[in-house]
């Protein structure tokens, strides 16, 4: 039976066909979806911050782009995926609030999360097939292990599959 597995904030999960991964209400965080098409293995990480190296409180590996991607790949390889076959789709990284000209670092965190995610994926030589990032709205995503499709739902900004 097809199951829908929820990925919380600072969390990551891996499923095999036919299961679905979902994360609800993604804001400035980034959802990193990795897929091995041949084995139909899907992994999804919901990261909050760009880097584990800039912060003391870093025991939760799924919280940071660098450590989460590393762990996600390891977990997928454990299930039989191959790093060389992995492709990525990324979403989120919105700026929910704006404060005129000076936003400060916190306000740009969504953008920084996206940049960091891309840099780390590049290090692992994982291509990004599609992205729906930035903007100022939230996203709920569903990641299908059968097809590698990523469904993005929003409030007032429609619905799309990337």
């Amino acid at each position: 039976m097809q199951k829908v597995i929820k990925v919380g904030m600072a969390d990551l999960q891996v499923v095999e066909e036919p299961h679905i991964l979902t994360t609800l209400g993604l804001g400035s965080c980034v959802g990193i979806a990795l897929y091995d098409k041949q084995k139909k293995i899907a992994g999804l990480a919901h990261i909050m911050l760009p880097s584990s190296t800039q912060i003391k409180n870093n025991s939760n590996l799924a919280k940071f782009a660098d450590t989460a991607i590393d762990l996600l790949i390891k977990e997928m390889v454990k299930r039989g995926a191959s790093t060389a076959r992995l492709k990525a789709k990324i979403t989120g990284g919105a700026q929910m609030f704006s404060f005129g000209n000076n936003g400060g670092d916190l306000m740009k965190i969504g953008y920084r999360n996206v940049i960091a995610t891309k840099e780390i994926l590049e290090l692992y030589k994982i291509d990004i097939l599609a992205e729906d990032t930035g903007g100022n709205h939230g996203r709920t995503i569903e990641f299908y292990s059968e097809t590698g499709d990523l469904l993005v739902k929003t409030i007032g900004f429609g619905l799309k599959t990337i």
Binding site: A10, G25, L26, M48, M96, F97, F99, G138, I155
Partner: protein
Amino acid sequence: MPTMTFTIEDLNNLHLDVLREIGNIGSGNAASALAKMINKRIDMDVPIVQILAFEDVAAILGGEEMVVAGIYFEVEGDITGNIMFLLDIASSKILTSILMGREDGSEELDEMDRSALQEVGNILSGSYISSLSALTGLKIKLSVPSLCIDMAGAILSVPAIQFSQTSDKIVLIETLLKEGSNQVKGNFFLIPDSKSFDKLLQSLGVYS
């Protein structure tokens, strides 16, 4: 005095009592500010003060995908950080209807409503901050408000990210305001930077 850094996990009952008191006075001020604004009687329940893990916050608001209105401020002065005033969409509509003198609270929010909501968020948050300021003697200033109406999870990701750098817990003051049969539930989140958190508790005289 120990030199250890204070984290939100170390909050004891005494701290909670003080925060509750701030919530109480702040909510009282907020209710009278609102009453003045709409020229109607506003009643208030005793606020509930909670320390929560972030994953539980969205659940309180009805789930990550529930549409809510968040009004976000930067805090400057003796302490720095952010505060957020959060209303579920039903409360937002009731509140704007009261402000705009409409009977029905079911209409979609237009630009005027959004601006009114931002303003009322401003007044209510200012009430909490002035009670905090009065009790601590700290100078606290608020930035202009920024409003976002979207999924609770997405809106909460902003304070969650900020808090995640020190802890995974937040302080929530939940206030129920009543005007006649209308009920407006306001959720006030206090998000001081880690250094400011120490300062805040020290100023309250409950640093142990």
